[in-house]
């Protein structure tokens, strides 16, 4: 199997953990995996991306434009920013809740992500989730990275089994948060399955 998955968001949203779990789960299923992270200055509130490349045909550490099968966007503006990576028939799983940039308080542009969501709807096959809504039962948006991973898996487009992902969640999150994370994942999975129907 060859599959390219791009995860994007803003610094602090937990994209790196989602990327690690995805990569490890794919390896658990016997695939060859490469990935690359944004590290350095960009982490301080900036845009962040993780490129995950599954299969033997990947040479570049970064996914070439137009090559990603799945775009996992933790923020609608970032989804649009990284849309160039997505294949024409690829799927985008997008959080509709915007993260306003810090500069917004100094120079207000009125950015709230709604225009971006409308644009994405016109352009691509998308699955939308709102972190505000799906995270409400868990009392914190901290688990959104795992929930959106569940949504992508549930929608059947990630190409990695539910079991492998759950096993890696168990392995990679601190024991005291493992149960909540697994529940978050399953809640996301259900949302993804519904989106499929």
């Amino acid at each position: 199997m060859n599959k390219d998955i791009l995860i994007c968001g803003t610094g602090g949203q937990g994209t790196v953990l989602a990327s690690k779990i995805t990569a490890a789960a794919a390896m658990r299923e016997g695939s060859r995996v490469h990935s690359a992270e944004t590290i350095g200055m960009a982490q301080r509130g900036g845009s962040v991306t993780s490129h995950i490349r599954i299969g033997d045909e990947a040479f570049s550490p970064l996914i070439p434009c137009g090559n990603a099968d799945v775009l996992l966007a933790f923020e609608p503006g970032e989804a649009v920013r990284n849309l160039k990576y997505l294949k024409k028939n690829g799927v985008a799983v997008v959080n509709t809740a915007a993260v306003r940039p810090v500069t917004e308080s100094l120079n207000e542009t009125g950015y709230d992500g709604s225009e971006q969501v409308e644009y994405l709807k016109r352009k691509h096959d998308c699955v939308f989730v709102s972190s505000d809504e799906v995270c409400a039962p868990f009392g914190s948006t901290k688990f959104f990275n795992i929930i959106i991973l569940g949504v992508a898996a549930g929608s059947g487009r990630l190409g990695i089994s539910k079991e492998a992902l759950l096993a890696e969640i168990e392995k990679q999150v601190p024991p005291k948060f493992a149960e909540t994370n697994k529940k978050s994942f399953l809640a996301g999975f259900e949302t993804g399955e519904k989106a499929l129907k």
Binding site: A23, A24, G40, P61, P64, C65, L83, S105, E115, Y119
Partner: protein, 598 residues
């Protein structure tokens, strides 16, 4: 065992597999994780240190290599400038045990001041350089680098770039690492003491050796050629090889020649590979090093070959390469018109910019703000330096007038003082102070400069990922050690006025700055407050909506990302706020208060 690691991790594990005995370096993106990886794996018998700077690291390592031990030094490309003094000389003296200097280049640049090319530095020093194209290759190649270093008794450079350093791959590593057994230092002043006569003799030997090494590299396993007999060839190196390969995959109608050892240039290999080739396209990052070597080779051997690359404008000189850029250049080179299957997004709505900013609660913000307030209405110059606090240049703080290189703020403030009227400030972080700030302070005292040195002491090397330094009382061996006290260091160097303040106390800080501004000589203010990423926040602030008049002064003065405008009142993001209280001290109507964290 299989380990899924970053390229930097692969370099670290490769060095351990090669039996490295000593590892030293100074943090710098994209190289920092090499030493951190060594520290996370069992490394009994290996001396590991974050040195005070790159020059110190290389000198420590060189002596280990003189002793027959294997030594690894890590740094980013500009660190090599700092280490260039010992490196140039060590190249003449040579080594006994393997000495490998990793200098990670940063095309883009993504987090650096320069787009310099370590391969050119290797040529300048006349020592071999290895250039891996992937983490897997880096793991193997660093082991080869130690072998070649010992085979030719020379220091060797190892040059990964950001995309290799930060890419992850699975590496097969041994269960256990054993450091090399070595002889120890054997006195031989004719060999280890550099004198003009020795340099003269060794210079001749080195040039002869490099011809031999170049021939040796012609059969090196990572100098490869793919594709059949063709008239067109792409010559490439490092991560650019991965981009070219991604575009061409296993095509047979064009050759891909990969050069992993740019110096000494593997001329025989290149001549063989270019047999029958009429047109060669060089795809490399940073400088057109390989391109120049090919032109030189073609000239010397009278090859009838057209060479395309940076020099004729086919490939851009600046910035990093990518699959997209390579595809465009290859399309032109091969007379094709292949396009990626992507949707047209030229009509996408405007997107918010997300520039990097100082974190909410960062003590640097408070320090800069205090100096700014104290100097309001006065002529003053602010010399910045390298670290998170370079971000003090952003609006609304706008407190960095110059930034050049590590430690330069302290000395540049002196230059401004000698040639301008106005109060001259120098900002230096604690790690920068130890790395290359101290000599500048001595210079200021000795040469009678009137400057105010602001040491922004957050008890860590924050920008590169919170490495310890001499002021933290911890070292990379995991030991608690004597803290080097910055105030005492300054006192010892002859600074007469040294104030230590808490930057989160605005009034105290402003008064300290005012007190220092008008005095003659070198004055130092140590703004001491830990980085919010290492200290657990004790409280947070909240806006009293009854009192807030929505003047937004808190936002327009401090630019703290936890302050949110909109909805007629300012609010504070509870997840971001650390309770530093700067905004509360700025608020003209006393609408911001603090609360304990639960």
């Amino acid at each position: 065992m299989k380990e899924y690691v970053m390229g930097n991790g692969a370099i670290a594990l490769g060095a351990l597999a090669a039996g490295v005995n000593l590892v030293a370096g100074y943090p710098g993106t994209p190289s920092s994780e090499i030493i951190e990886t060594v520290s996370k794996y069992p490394h009994e018998g290996v001396h590991l240190e974050w040195s005070v700077n790159e020059k110190a690291a290389l000198e420590v390592a060189a002596a280990a290599a003189y002793s027959g031990a294997r030594a690894l030094v890590t740094m980013k490309q500009m660190g090599l400038n700092v280490a260039s003094d010992p490196l140039m000389s060590a190249a003449y003296v040579g080594v006994k045990g393997g000495l490998v200097i990793v200098s990670a280049d940063d095309p883009g640049p993504i987090s650096s001041q320069t787009e310099q090319d370590t391969r050119r530095f290797a040529d300048f020093c006349r020592i071999p350089v290895f250039d891996p194209s992937s983490p897997e290759e880096a793991y193997e190649m660093i082991q080869d680098a130690f072998e070649y270093s010992e085979k030719y008794s020379t220091p060797v450079l190892f040059r990964p770039t950001t995309r290799v350093c930060h890419a992850y791959a699975s590496i097969n590593v041994p269960e256990k690492f054993s450091p090399k057994e070595y002889e120890g230092f054997i006195k031989d002043s004719g060999r280890w003491v550099i004198f003009p006569r020795l340099s003269y003799i060794n210079h001749g030997k080195i040039e002869k050796r490099n011809i031999e090494t170049g021939k040796d590299f012609s059969s090196y396993r990572f100098n490869t050629v793919e594709g059949g007999e063709t008239k067109k060839a792409v010559v490439t190196s490092g991560v650019s090889y991965a981009y070219v390969k991604e575009c061409l995959k296993n095509r047979n109608d064009v050759k891909i020649i990969k050069i992993s050892t740019a110096f000494p240039f593997p001329e025989d290999f290149v001549l063989d590979s270019l047999e029958g080739v009429e047109k060669a396209l060089c795809v490399e990052e940073l400088s057109p090093y390989i391109e120049e070597q090919i032109l030189k080779t073609a000239g010397r051997h009278g090859l009838d070959i057209e060479v395309l690359g940076k020099l004729d404008g086919t490939v851009p000189h600046n910035g990093e390469n990518s699959v997209e850029l390579s595809a465009k250049i290859l399309n032109e080179f091969l007379g094709e018109n292949k396009k990626a299957e992507q949707s047209d997004i030229s009509d996408s709505p405007a997107l918010p910019a997300r520039p990097p900013v100082l974190c909410a609660g960062c003590p640097h913000r408070a320090s800069f703000y205090a100096v700014k307030q104290a100097m309001k209405g006065r002529k003053a110059f602010f010399c910045g330096d390298i670290g998170c606090y370079t971000l003090g240049n952003a609006m609304p703080l706008d407190m960095v007038d110059t930034c050049l290189c590590m430690g330069a703020g302290i000395t540049m403030a002196q230059g401004l003082n000698h040639t301008n009227d106005g109060v001259c400030f120098a900002f230096a972080g604690d790690s920068t102070f130890f790395a290359s700030g101290m000599t500048g302070v001595v210079n200021a005292v000795y040469n009678e400069a009137d400057i105010v040195l602001c040491v922004l002491d957050n008890s860590t090397t924050a920008m590169t990922g919170h490495q310890p330094h001499p002021g933290t009382g911890r070292n990379m061996a995991g030991n608690f050690v004597e803290k080097v006290d910055i105030a005492k260091v300054l006192e010892g160097m002859g600074v007469k006025k040294i104030l230590t303040v808490n930057p989160l106390n605005l009034e105290e800080s402003v008064n300290a700055v005012k007190e220092c501004a008008d005095e003659k000589g070198v004055k130092a203010i140590i703004f001491k407050s830990p980085c919010i990423a290492i200290a657990k926040p004790s409280g947070r602030c909240a806006v009293d909506a009854q009192k807030c008049v929505n003047c937004k002064k808190c936002i327009s003065e401090t630019g703290c990302p936890a302050l949110v405008a909109g909805g007629g009142k300012v609010t504070i993001d509870r997840n971001l706020c650390t309770g530093c209280g700067l905004c509360a001290q700025v608020c003209p109507v006393g609408a911001i208060g603090g609360e304990e964290r639960e």
